[in-house]
Symmetry: C2
Amino acid sequence: MKKSALILISLLFTLSLSSQGNKNLAELLGYPKDSKLLIIHADDMGLSHSVNMATIKAFDNKGITSGSIMVPCPWSPEIEVYAKDHPGMDVGIHLTLTAEWDLYKWGGITPADQISSLLDKDNYFFTSVEELGKSAKGIEAEKELRAQIDKAIASGVHPTHLDTHMGSVLANPELVKIYLGLSDIYHLPVLFPRTYLSWFPPEMAKSMQSKIFLLDNLFMLEPKMINGKWIDAYKKGIETLKPGLNEMIVHVAIDNDEMQAICKGHDDYGSSWRQKDLDLVSSPEFKDLLKANHIILIGWRQIRDLMNSKVAK
Amino acid sequence: MKKSALILISLLFTLSLSSQGNKNLAELLGYPKDSKLLIIHADDMGLSHSVNMATIKAFDNKGITSGSIMVPCPWSPEIEVYAKDHPGMDVGIHLTLTAEWDLYKWGGITPADQISSLLDKDNYFFTSVEELGKSAKGIEAEKELRAQIDKAIASGVHPTHLDTHMGSVLANPELVKIYLGLSDIYHLPVLFPRTYLSWFPPEMAKSMQSKIFLLDNLFMLEPKMINGKWIDAYKKGIETLKPGLNEMIVHVAIDNDEMQAICKGHDDYGSSWRQKDLDLVSSPEFKDLLKANHIILIGWRQIRDLMNSKVAK
């Protein structure tokens, strides 16, 4: 079957939620109907040794419940081996088609001449999602994204989900279709907030809504939210969580020479920022905040396993 | 002209030393005939941020006189930009066809499907020179090596010389020919100790001897030499230097989390080893040792410029 046909079929998705009667996701996972489910997710595993160490620390501290690997990055072998040796760790693939830092770059894992529409003149990924969106050919993007997932699996990782670095795979409608198609091909849930449905024609959005686990709310700290103590911006995010499936994305790293050099010239999501995120999720204050707001922490593994148990029916 | 012909012609070399009458290299550079010339050379620039910072520090301290960049490594863009902005820095290309660490890997900069004989199943370079030597096809190796030099030049680096990571380009006779050929193509001197001549048929060795700047002595610290203080092994090396062209290879790095993670499981040439090398070349004791032994420090730039001035004649 041609890949384009596969992509189309994949849009029909893997899971028919309607088969579950009137139970919502919380109930299907064994929680009360109006539970505020929250995945606390660390992006960018594999980006650097600093990020790898910080993510492992955050998992060990139970500060995060999930994370995802940037397979094309220099330090992915380290975290892939760690994930293989720690199969309980909830790890997905952070599908990567951009390389945003100035002096620390990476390209795809597919031979460069097979994915030239994704690469700049030095065969690195583009810096911005905009450049990617204008240049990317779907067939090349799909080849690279599948190679990233395949490589992680071959390394012994059992991915729990797919998500996307800087929203790479949301760069244009063709990439979005490919992204959703990968969910079907690999039997993995994808990060996809409900608000994104408005990008699609109403009929397609309706069909999607009934067939994938949509995030009801995605919270990620943005520079404009920072005013005063680090925890305060997160406090607002947590206190306004509603029942349903929520994800909070954090960026953790050890603020050291390596990370400072990678992020040089970029304060937003930079080295100091990431250390603050690590300190935050590891802190008793943050855990108290979750408890006070009756948050139920879950990971992507529970959703993947639920999804696949239903597929098997 | 076909590349194979170019390679052959390159073996005829660039420089006819015989045109210089009876002057030896020291005299051609303006020093007394029996001078003990020494290049103190830092390998592995670009390998990591730690190595980059240490090398810059060693240059600033005048602990080294030359260094070379591993272009395919993750941190090469950082040091290439630094070299571009510091054109006085004596920087060559550390031609790289191996990736020896366990969890921190790199492949070539040429599309992987064009250099498959140089790569393992994950498209990383082989770990050992032996594996490379058995598998490498000359045409693919030359394509990759030229791409490495071209990329550095395109980044604004003006290379002073070529040398080779782990002796990659000495892995088999075909690679040696390519290596020497690159000297001719790029008008750059190559690291080539006189003792290597014994690998070649006598006639060819004789011809080479008259046409390239051979190193009279190459000193690199080996594990078996270490016994007591770090400086003691180097002391022996320095005290036994003879008049002629000598190179001392050092491996400098900051002994930090990043470098320890790269070198995990490898004490030899590991993170602590490299910090000791950095401390050594920066120390007054080391500089006193050089002075006491009447060493004249030079860089590869002087040799390159001499070589090209003669070519122009």
